[in-house]
């Protein structure tokens, strides 16, 4: 009974699965995403989940995009409605002409549906109940059965799904065959009873290439392994816990001595975030590469130690997987809202280095680089992830490592250098770059020891409260921050094909939505040059980019335009030249949103204002 307005599209649609948390749907849904990917069609899946273990609503959204758009799109073309709790909202959210797949075992009143969508019923409960007796099996296989039905409805190759299942259950033949059986129960029902395929279809393509499919948290953790991190201390907090978990599992695979089975790493689950950062700073002080993973509330708790790291100049890496604040905020929703609280973390005059990866591949690279930067600059480096990159699988370029690459351990004074008569002042700027030498504890019996403290001291680490000595040190720290500008990843600029007076600055997970929005804006006749900021402190090209344009949009996922504030403050930019484009409802930013907000603003510029009537 498809209505005349049935949506029709090949390799370009959004499907959302509405499930109950803890019902085992996640693996079936992920299997769907992977099978589309294996057919060579790019997908970007997103988990939309509550702060809960079992029983609350959860959604899994897959954007299928032959064009390769990986940002969230907005709008739902097909809803797999498996959760009675959210039925009304789910049905209401379907685009007109879209599709609704539901469990038709129990008849529902007509009022529960809509006239302008295409309703597809599969008696999932009836099928499972007649096949399985174990309640848990009924629950789990129900998910695979709807996946089977979808494969027929959307023309997904069942062989591809079977292949994925066989990879997943390699060596567990019983589970393999029962999953394949369930898949065909659903598929056969759909083929025999429903019109297959529907208007939305998946067609084999070659748009995926050699790209990989990985979560940002896992990639960042792998970057820490490759970057030489040996100490990880952390405290569980969504959405960063999976980063520490991934580091643990990567280390178990990659960091044990093959003969002795001993660990070349130490992971401690701290009693809180204060202990975690304390352990990281103790390890950094003692010459190990150490990091913690946390989120906004953890950053708040770590403030005092971050100031110590800045002032006493101790390397540390903090991976901040941002979530919506303030306070507990929306723990399972994404934002880019810790920019100010990290850039200026702690009391007194402080500034810190931030890195903004756009996707898992960059999270891997920047995580590894963060340890070189921390050692080189002897301070805290923040890797600014967010829930959208961190906890969702994202298609990205393969991870690369140059085997010739060596770790930059920074300025370390060794026993040999001390014996050769080198003058050692822990806070002495010998090279003019603001970065002093340090010694590791235990280096030399009589030379090079010093007392590390958060109180003020002179160039030779001797306690002092003399104003000039204090200022001398604070000025050197500023010089060091200048040095950082040329060490951190530079912004990437992409210009419109024709000269334009307008620019846009963005960063982090906004990237795919921004790239797509450029195309949408061009279709509306607006051209923009774009600059993706990849680190703080800002490279000089940020200020020159702004200078080259009449005004510049700053797109970010927070309420208070935090990156804009930082640019205004650090680059002394007139605020009117930077127009904030803000998305902060906790959902990932979309191309539609960006193009709408910027497009409307640019359209408004073309309108001639009405003259006031003079009375």
């Amino acid at each position: 009974m498809p209505s005349p307005s049935a949506l029709s599209s090949v390799n370009d649609f959004v499907i959302r699965f509405a499930n109950v948390n803890g019902s085992g749907s996640a693996s079936a849904n992920e299997l769907f995403a992977r099978s589309v990917l294996r057919m060579g069609v790019p997908v970007s899946p997103r988990n939309i989940f509550p702060s809960n273990i079992q029983g609350l609503p959860t959604w899994y959204e897959v954007r299928v995009s032959g064009e390769g758009h990986l940002g969230a799109r907005g709008g739902i073309d097909m809803m797999v409605a498996m959760n009675p709790q959210t039925w009304d909202k789910d049905v209401a959210s379907i685009e007109p002409g879209g599709y609704l797949l539901y469990d038709s075992t129990k008849p529902l009143p007509k009022s529960k549906f809509r006239d302008d969508i295409n309703v597809i019923g599969v008696p999932l409960t009836a099928i499972t109940n007649s096949t399985y007796t174990d309640p848990r099996q009924r629950q789990l296989f129900k998910n695979i059965i709807y996946l089977g039905a979808l494969s027929a409805l959307l023309d997904v190759d069942p062989k591809v799904i079977e292949q994925l299942i066989s990879e997943q259950y390699k060596g567990k033949e019983k589970l393999l065959s029962s999953n394949v059986h369930a898949l065909h129960l659903g598929r056969d029902y759909a083929l025999q009873n429903l019109k297959c395929p529907i208007g939305l279809r998946v067609q084999k393509s070659d748009k995926v290439g050699d790209r990989i499919f990985i979560e940002g948290n896992s990639a960042a953790a792998l970057g820490a392994v490759y970057g030489g991190a040996t100490v990880c201390a952390w405290y569980p907090i969504t959405p960063s816990s999976s980063l520490a978990d991934a580091f643990t599992s990567h280390c178990k695979r990659l960091r044990h001595d093959p003969e002795t089975k001993k660990a070349k790493y130490a992971i401690v689950q701290g009693e809180d975030e204060l202990a975690s950062i304390g352990i990281v700073i103790g390890a950094g002080w003692n010459g190990a590469r150490a990091f913690t993973a946390t989120s906004g509330p953890g950053i708040s708790l770590m403030q005092e130690f971050i100031g110590l790291s800045y002032f006493a100049e101790i390397p540390a890496v903090i991976m901040d997987v941002q979530r919506a604040g303030p306070s507990t905020g929306m723990p399972t929703r994404t934002q880019q809202c810790d920019i100010i609280s990290t850039a200026y973390a702690s009391h007194g005059d402080t500034k810190h280095v931030l890195l903004f990866p756009e996707d898992p591949a960059e999270a891997f690279e920047m995580a590894a680089q963060a340890f070189d930067l921390a050692d080189r600059l002897q301070t805290t480096i923040f890797l600014m992830l967010d829930l959208d990159i961190g906890m969702n699988h994202r298609l990205c370029r393969p991870l690369k490592w140059d085997d010739a690459r060596q770790y930059d351990r920074g300025k370390i004074m060794t026993a040999e250098m001390l014996d050769a008569g080198r003058d050692f002042g822990r806070y002495l700027d010998v090279d003019g770059d603001g970065v002093p030498f340090r010694t590791y504890p235990g280096t030399h019996p009589t030379k090079g020891s010093f007392f590390t403290r958060g109180t003020s001291r002179d160039r030779y680490a001797r306690y002092t409260e003399e104003g000039p000595a204090y200022q001398d040190n604070m000025q050197r720290l500023l010089r060091k921050f200048e040095t950082a500008k040329d060490l951190v990843p530079r912004p990437l600029q992409a210009n419109a094909d024709k000269p334009t007076k307008y620019g846009v600055i963005y960063f982090g997970s906004t990237s795919p939505a921004m790239d797509e929005a450029i195309g949408l804006l061009e279709a509306r006749g607006h051209r923009l040059d774009r600059l993706r900021v990849r680190a703080f402190p800002f490279h000089s090209s940020v200020a020159s980019f702004i200078a080259e344009h009449d005004f510049v949009y700053v797109v970010e996922q927070n309420r208070d335009s935090q990156l804009r504030s930082l640019i205004v403050n650090e680059c002394s930019i007139d605020p009117v030249r930077l127009v904030p484009i803000l998305h902060y409802d906790g959902t990932p930013i979309t191309a539609r949103f960006i193009a709408g907000a910027i497009g409307d603003h640019l359209d408004a510029l073309k309108i001639t204002p009405l003259r006031k009537v003079v009375s």
Partner: protein, 351 residues
């Protein structure tokens, strides 16, 4: 006093230890604490213990929090790296340092404000984890630097210098350390160096979490009548259960004690503790009995001192984490970086 430079010359016949170092080589800067402060006696005991053990000073890492006690690492072992960290957070900083390099000796110095109030949680958790360290609390029952507020170890009913009576219950740091699983627990008194020095030596040799609660009177704010942490009060109420002679494994053990009064306790590293029993009933290997003994005597107003508990086969955090013997801070790319070939395999599994 802060800016006084300590003269370096010394008597040519000062005794030397096995490494050829004198006492002076274990000293630090001139103390800036009040004249007569108990903490300075603890500093002297640490210097004595390290000298007698012939420890290379630079192989010790001294880590502290914030407060009078936490300043003291500047006053001993001037050739060691020191870290005066954050209030109440010495345990986490020390834990991290220890994870980075298991080959150094870790000496954590803290106070009762630092460890029993703001840092109570961190104190608890580093004991639970069994970090290989010597954790000394210089316990005076008051906040000295901020002019004499009660700390959490001040006994209920004790009187402040201004005459205020403390109505809060006291935290018994030794009792808590026992409960948390510390594998070496002792209590001593800064005024009794003969008791304290061997305890510090034994704690240094102990391969696990060693905790020493040292009652250390504050001459400025807590040494008056009505205080239970004054020199006079502690002397009058000190109930020592044993006296320790510390013998390293390499030295011959000569026993010239009366039979039945001495117990030889061998530690994991081969060092031996000759424990002269004062209380014949007291068993240093029974954690539960030790806790009960402490509580029982505390109720009578007595301060139990001596070696309270020792676990001979203690394990430390590195054992639990199964880390490699080489210090983690010495590992380079070869050990740490899995390389591009592994990454190719990882990529392949992610398609």
């Amino acid at each position: 006093m802060t800016y006084v430079v300590k003269p370096k010359f010394h008597h040519p016949d000062l005794p030397k230890n096995k490494l050829g170092y004198t006492h002076r080589d274990y000293e630090g800067k001139v103390s800036t604490l009040c004249a007569g402060c108990g903490h300075d006696s603890i500093t002297a005991s640490i210097i004595e213990a390290c000298f007698e053990l012939s420890i290379e000073p630079h192989r010790v890492a001294k880590i502290s929090g914030i407060g009078c006690s936490s300043k003291t690492p500047d006053y001993f072992l001037g050739n060691s790296h020191g870290f005066n960290s954050v209030h109440g957070r010495m345990p986490s900083v020390l834990t991290g340092a220890n994870l980075a390099n298991r080959d150094l000796i870790y000496l954590g110095v803290s106070g009762d404000g630092d460890s029993a109030s703001i840092g109570f949680g961190q104190f608890a958790h580093c004991m639970r984890r069994g970090v290989n360290m010597v954790y000394i609390v210089e316990n005076n029952g008051v906040y000295g630097l901020t002019k004499g507020q009660f700390s959490a170890t001040a006994d209920r009913g004790s009187k402040s210098k201004r005459g205020v009576v403390n109505s809060d219950n006291a935290i018994d740091m030794s009792g808590i350390a026992l409960q948390l699983g510390a594998s070496f627990v002792a209590r001593s008194f800064s005024g009794d160096k003969t008791q304290l020095v061997p305890l510090i030596k034994a704690a240094i040799e102990h391969q696990g979490a060693a905790f020493i609660d040292v009652i250390s009177p504050c001459v400025a704010f807590n040494n008056h009548a009505g205080s239970t942490k004054s020199f006079d009060y502690v002397r009058e109420h000190n109930e020592a259960v044993n006296f320790l002679d510390f013998i390293t494994g390499r030295q011959p053990i000569h026993v010239d004690y009366a039979p039945g009064t001495v117990e030889m306790v061998e530690q994991h590293d081969g060092s031996v503790l000759a424990l002269r029993k004062i209380n014949a009933e007291y068993d240093v290997h029974d954690r539960q009995a030790a806790m009960s003994f402490l509580h029982h005597h505390a109720a009578k107003g007595q301060i139990v001192t001596g070696l309270l508990y020792v676990e001979q086969d203690a394990e430390d955090l590195h054992t639990h984490l199964n880390t490699v013997p080489a210090p983690l801070n010495t590992l380079g790319e070869k050990d740490l970086c899995p390389g591009s070939a592994s990454l190719e395999k990882i990529n392949a599994a992610l398609r």
